[in-house]
């Protein structure tokens, strides 16, 4: 990737960057290790692709099944779980379909039955992958072509905006929801209706780029990064990170 000696190039998902976590964390990493890290924030799909094509050295992503496939294909190596936050299903306060308090499976069933508007990111991002997983867990096919199933093909916040305009439901990561909430001066039109299900966990991991696939990749530095992220100092910092006063990520490195 980059020419500099101790430079590390990372591809990450937009959520880590958009929440400001990296801007908070990375100067510390530099200070501790002397490694200059640069990152490009993209969709999970593109991030994985950049790693597969050896354009970056390390990934910070949140799509465990895709990551596993990726490693099995020989593109990635040494996946390490770092932290998680969770997904929630949000919808209008009035909750026309009546999903509030239900578990994920029932909630989605209810939406499907009522043909209530559901906005999907539809961009194959980590979040989108998770959402598709949830639909699959209901045992019925993805409502790809249903009129009420809106595929926005955009980032999370834009998708929430679409949902608000359409008075529909959507699934979002909590970080973005907090941002949305604060933008609406804590009086958001969309409220959290479903949360806390184990299936809603959103696991972030660091994956190294496999040096077998990419001999030029700085695997050693990538591992240094991975170690640091999993280390006590970074874990503590992650735990302390607040967005608008609310904790966002729960460190869970083993």
């Amino acid at each position: 990737a980059m020419a500099s000696e101790k430079g590390l190039m990372m591809a990450t998902t937009t959520s880590t960057d958009n929440t400001g976590l990296l801007d908070y964390l990375m100067p510390q990493f530099k200070k501790d290790t002397g490694i200059a890290i640069k990152w490009t924030a993209t969709g999970t799909g593109k991030a994985l692709k950049l790693g597969q094509r050896c354009d970056v050295d390390v990934l910070l992503v949140h799509a465990p099944p895709a990551e596993k496939k990726y490693i099995d294909a020989g593109y990635g190596k040494n996946r390490r779980e770092i932290m998680y936050n969770d997904f929630v299903i949000i919808g209008p306060d009035t909750d026309p379909a009546g999903i509030k308090g239900k578990n994920v499976r029932d909630a989605l069933e209810t939406i499907r039955k009522n043909k209530a508007t559901f906005v999907s990111r539809g961009d194959d991002s980590g979040t989108n992958k998770k959402e598709k997983l949830l639909w699959n867990a209901t045992g019925k096919p993805l409502p790809e072509k249903e009129n009420w199933y809106v595929q926005a093909g955009q980032g999370m916040l834009s998708t929430i905006n679409v949902t608000e305009e359409r008075q529909g439901y959507t699934m979002t990561d909590r970080g973005t929801y907090i941002k949305y909430q604060s933008q609406k001066q804590d009086q958001p039109m969309l409220k959290v209706l479903v949360q806390g299900d184990a299936i809603l966990l959103n696991q972030y991991s660091v994956v190294g780029v496999n040096p077998k696939n990419c001999p030029n990749a700085k695997y050693a530095l990538a591992m240094e990064f991975s170690d640091w992220m999993a280390g006590p100092r970074a874990q503590k910092l992650i735990g302390e990170f607040r967005l608008l006063g609310k904790p966002l990520f729960t460190p869970n490195a083993k």
Partner: protein, 228 residues
Amino acid sequence: MEFIISGVVQAIFLLASGDSSTWSAVAVTLKVSTCSMLMSMAAGLPCGFLIGYFDFRGKRALRTVLDTMLALPTVFIGLLVYAFISNQGPLGEFNLLFSLGGIAVGQTLLAFPIVTALTAVTIEAIDPQLKLTLISLGAGKKNILATCLWEVRFGILAAAVTAYGRVMTEVGISMMVGGNIKWHTRTITTAIALETGKGMFANGIALGVVLITIAFGVNLSLSFLRKQ
């Protein structure tokens, strides 16, 4: 490299097989860009003509402003339009957000300065004799407008084609105002952005080739206008 080749192959496949989501995006792109080109030409040609034909105080300043408008980022235009047509905006009741109409409005704003600025400079380059010639043959104001534009039709065509290229390829407005909603407001360019974001580079290339094929078709059918 390999994804370019597979992208091109796939483009042929997409077009030939009549892949419905691709064709939906093609239809949306054509609908919206046609609409916004018509609107921006209808407004831009007369404005450009007036600026190019007449000398007036502040003309140079106006030209500078117009040239600056050529550098309006599409996301910016998208945000502006969004501000007006979102539910909380002053034009919220027209339900333009996430609709083709909304995108067309934004793209019109995008194309208008291009059409206007290029028309103005083309009209300005007209032989000063033409003005007096037309008057002396009895041309009225509308005749003068029409004949001048026709005299420089190649320049106008270039303005239109440039604006069309801009409109066809923009992402910011379609994304922000249209919302990239599959089957509804997903254009080819937002689809390319989406595929690329997913890491499906070959798909992106394929859709790009589709777009270029359309543009080529449009330009081919315009090229008869270029006959001397």
